[in-house]
Symmetry: C2
Subunit: 284 residues, 2 copies
């Protein structure tokens, strides 16, 4: 299956290489020119017309606006029988609009955002949350399974919804671990002993072990950036509003990330939410 990967950033590059290693003919396309080193092992398309000549056009862009812009340029060149797969973390409402519009041209749509980062993409161990029709998902399943474990969670947009919910849980778990870390330190329980004691129990999680360590050591090197987490929580709040749901901890966590961004901490790891409990660390 001919595959084009559009967006050769931190995620797109290992995705292109892993698909090629699995035996697929893969070409890449990027909005800006790539250094030879970054390009290594990836055959580039000459233009978007060539990018569109594929069974799968796989988008891996930074945010919904970039996805919309590239898709608008790509779309005039797309042929029926192509499936567009958006692996970025986009707005589910936009995905549904794209899916409907493309369907009118005989072009299939799958949203398939991932978790697992560049390491997961390189190792073929991503968690892939796929939204789309059963037929569309069936068409791309074999190719995507070279990248990791695929779960078909619902119709068009459902994959992006699942990714937003993933980020909701991550954000709220970070606040829980921040409160736990602050309370432990205030009462003289060393956070690394707390994490060791809680390992394997009901309170345990990757967030406790990995992000909890970042909080205790005050080393907020990303990992996942505050600005990215904030973007995803804004999407989550939009989903809640559109469903008439009041989700109090989502609302509060979103406000706390907004405060962190306003204080100039957008490029810190999202575990830096702990700074807001770390008395005097963040100006009001």
């Amino acid at each position: 299956m001919q595959i084009t990967v559009l967006g050769l950033g931190l995620m797109g590059r290992p995705i292109a290489r892993t698909l090629a290693r699995a035996g697929h003919p893969v070409r890449g396309w990027n909005r800006s020119p790539l250094d030879a080193e970054l390009r290594q092992g990836i055959v580039l398309c000459s233009d978007l017309r060539q990018a569109a000549e594929a069974e799968i056009c796989l988008l891996m862009l930074a945010h919904s606006a970039a996805t919309d812009a590239v898709l608008a340029q790509l779309e005039p060149h797309l042929r029926p029988q192509t499936t567009v797969v958006d692996m970025g973390s986009s707005d589910p409402a936009r995905s549904q609009i794209h899916a409907e519009r493309l369907a009118n041209q005989g072009i299939a749509w799958v949203d398939a955002p991932v978790s697992g980062g560049p390491e997961g993409a390189a190792a073929g161990k991503l968690a892939i949350m796929a939204g789309g029709s059963a037929e569309a998902v069936a068409q791309v399943r074999t190719a995507l399974e070279a990248l990791g474990r695929l779960t078909h969670v619902g119709g068009a947009g459902a994959g992006h919804t699942a990714k937003v919910i993933n980020q909701l849980i991550v954000g709220l778990s970070i606040q829980a671990v921040a409160e736990a870390t602050a309370l432990a330190e205030a009462h003289g329980v060393a956070p690394h002993l707390l994490r060791a004691a809680l390992a394997g129990g009901f309170a345990d999680s990757k967030i406790l072990q990995i992000h909890g360590e970042r909080m205790a050591s005050r080393r907020y090197i990303p990992g996942g950036r505050v600005a990215t987490q904030l973007k995803d929580l804004r999407l989550a709040a939009k989903l809640a509003t559109s469903a008439g749901l009041d989700l109090p901890h989502l609302n509060d966590t979103l406000a706390r990330y907004e405060q962190l961004l306003a204080a100039g901490h957008g490029d810190l790891d999202h575990s830096a939410l702990h700074l807001l409990l770390d008395q005097g660390s963040v100006g009001a």
Copy 2:
């Protein structure tokens, strides 16, 4: 080492049997008489005087008030060289008071609350969070390690503090999973597919998989009871107040559990926090 287990409830009984199986001479004591079936395999003390004749007096009572009451009756009979081990989930401030008072009589103190439930106790697979002096913990380590993995987290009271923090993380994680479940259902993503998609990633946890399933199926059979979770979150709030910490998600989760109790749901599983988001499920 002669051990007395005081409090032969759901936890105390398997603890006594597991210690005996590991080769320790163990006797049990209970506030009320025990049925022959429940007593099986446990040698009972004739009275508190005999209960006090042990290297380790291990308390496993339902709450801090019961621990205080039994300890007050036991204390006149205790000899120096005995270590009192409180494995219940008690108030850390009370534990520090007990530890100091007993130290004046040459009696050592360890608080060693656990997570892992009756199954963990029976299998010797509890997580044990121990607080106390290095000497006191060293004296009881071998015996307690028959029950599971012991982590020495700090001085007297630190074990109880760690357990309270464990419950803080559990309570806040339940709210996070409740918000995630509500959002998924509102947007047509089946919760079991969401859990499958998120398994192994940063959003994954036992709370997501186990308590998330209870929410989606609306089967709130405990597990851990709302009333117990509430008791532990009240202790967490007390710890936060005494340290001058404002922990917003703890405060809100505590208020939500109070609301659930007031609505008559104290005996449901603590995952029933989801009812407050499940529109119309709980009267105001």
